[in-house]
């Protein structure tokens, strides 16, 4: 079976630190220094309290499957999922490098940074 080929993400000045970090093997989250909450996708302004005192924090890269759906009609079937990170936020991702028939809601997963056709890597997850 051929591998999924990922395209590099659209990067803007606000999200550049995130994508630069992935190239170095790090997966960053944004945390608000006023309300203390993590959010996703990362923003300069906290979507909960609108504070601009948000900072980058490296994620533990662990979580559980919130939901998933394997697209059977793609050239290479893939598993789109939402993963709830141990830090709190739920994020869109792919479950990769495992038997997709074994993916289930609630199962623990861990981070896998997948190569793209650019420098940035994509935060995906595999069954832990």
């Amino acid at each position: 079976m051929s591998e999924m080929k990922y395209q590099s993400p659209v990067v803007n000045p606000e999200t550049k630190p995130f994508w630069d970090a992935t190239a170095e093997g790090k997966f960053l989250l944004k945390k608000c220094n006023d309300c203390g909450e993590f959010h996703y996708y990362p923003r300069a302004l906290c979507p909960f309290c609108f504070s601009d005192k948000t900072e980058w924090v490296e994620s533990k890269g662990t979580g559980t499957v919130y939901t998933h759906s394997t697209m059977r009609r793609a050239p290479v079937p893939f598993c789109l999922a939402y993963v709830t990170l141990d830090e709190g936020p739920t994020m869109m991702t792919h479950i990769v490098d495992c038997d997709l028939e074994q993916v289930a809601i609630g199962k623990p997963v861990k981070l896998v940074l997948k190569e793209t056709d650019g420098d940035a890597k994509l935060p995906c997850f595999t069954l832990a």
Binding site: S8, Y41, S69, M92
Partner: protein
């Protein structure tokens, strides 16, 4: 202040075509406008307001207004995907109530079928490269069926909803579509047919997905003074509600839709209860869209949607809540990948007593139409309107 009784839907028109490769997009908008104005007994020169959404070519409302030769005092290009046109009814009623206009035209048109668009299975990251979420979603190739599949999967997990229950929604739509000569799919299907159709994106099968069609629809919304002088029977706008829902900075819950907010607002404004609704048009991009929406509108308790839709409960003449008697997006028409306007058109037919006799709800006095736009799996528009026979 309320819009209740301040505006009437005087004319509607659904394009009879489902594949229109030989027409331009602007041409389809104009043919629809002509059809709805003729239905109302009005002319192009009566129109003083034009409402449209992201399906129009050119600069907002202006390019199509130019093409059709409209002289306007009011325009609105509210874009909330498939729910846009139900938002437009509320906005047009408010504008009419405020004296900004008297005759509002709404059009929706598109050609995804003749353009061979892979609507359900191609990536549908929306909003262009400046959309703030684009980098965090588009690389994952989130197709529409994929995202609605994730919602269905979670709903099944939390509430025990089954594929067979979802299938009943398609079964009901197909029972209705057999009588609609314009419907793209007129074959009656069974629960077994649905669950045995090919898996598209778990747990949604091919027959859980709506059709891809060209064409569209148009409506004419008028002031009470104008409605009273028309020969055709107009339908009264009783209430409207709209609300977007999004993924909340990572606080994701795919088991409900924006209907939890738009529905109560519409019911409150209309001053009616669920038991008063004789007919409901529910946006049906996928079977799961209908199931979650029915729960969120309050037709049953949260989580009980599977039970509610089963055993033909949505079939006209059989169940308690006749829905989508034109065959809906699942069988009849989902023009421009946006079904909002066709939801209103069938509700108007029901209230006028002009639905197909086999599916006409006897003595239909109050109808609800609900639109969903964008993606139930990420960010979506929701709009609800309640209409009365007068």
């Amino acid at each position: 202040m309320s819009i209740k009784g301040k505006a009437f839907i005087a004319g509607v028109f659904e394009h009879p075509g489902r594949e229109l490769p030989d027409k331009s997009l602007a041409q389809i908008h104009a043919e629809l406008a002509k059809g709805a104005l003729e239905d109302a007994g009005l002319t192009k020169d009566d129109v003083d307001a034009y409402f449209c959404a992201g399906d129009v070519p050119g600069l907002g409302a202006i390019s199509i207004a130019d093409y059709m030769g409209l002289q306007l005092s009011y325009t609105d290009t509210t874009e909330t995907g498939g729910s846009s046109y139900i938002c437009h009814i509320g906005h047009a009623a408010a504008a009419i109530a405020a004296g900004k206009c008297k005759v509002a035209l709404v059009t929706l048109a598109g050609k995804p079928r003749s353009e061979k668009m892979k609507v359900g299975t191609g990536s549908r990251a929306m909003g262009g490269t400046d959309a703030p979420e684009i980098g965090f979603e588009a690389p994952f190739w989130p197709s529409t069926a994929n995202m609605y599949g994730m919602a269905a999967m979670r709903h099944m997990h939390e509430y025990g909803t089954t594929s067979e229950q979802l299938a009943w929604i398609k079964v009901a739509a197909s029972q209705h579509a057999q009588y609609n000569e314009h419907a793209l799919l007129r074959n009656v299907v069974t629960v077994e047919d649905v669950v045995n159709s090919p898996m598209i994106s778990d747990p949604l099968h091919r027959l859980d997905c709506c059709v891809i069609t060209d064409g569209g629809g148009a409506m004419v919304i008028v002031s009470p003074e104008i409605a009273k002088d028309l020969k055709r029977h107009s339908v009264k706008v009783l209430g409207h509600g709209e609300s977007p829902k999004h993924v909340g900075g990572g606080r994701v819950d795919l088991t409900y839709t924006g209907a939890v907010w738009s529905g109560p607002r519409a019911f409150e404004e209309a001053g009616v209860k669920h038991a008063d609704i004789d007919y409901a048009s529910i946006y049906d991009s996928f079977t799961i869209t209908v199931l979650e929406t029915l729960e969120d509108l309050g037709f049953c308790e949260k989580g009980q949607g599977g039970k509610f839709v089963s055993d033909g409960n949505l079939i006209s003449g059989v169940g308690k809540l006749p829905f989508n008697t034109d065959g809906g997006g699942l069988c009849n028409n989902h023009p421009a990948n946006r079904g909002g306007i066709t939801k209103v058109i069938e509700a108007v037919r029901q209230l006028r007593g002009e639905a197909h006799p086999k599916v006409q709800v006897p003595n239909c006095e109050i109808a609800l139409a609900h639109g969903t736009g964008g993606s139930i799996g990420t960010r979506m528009g929701s709009a609800t309107v309640i209409l009365g026979r007068e």
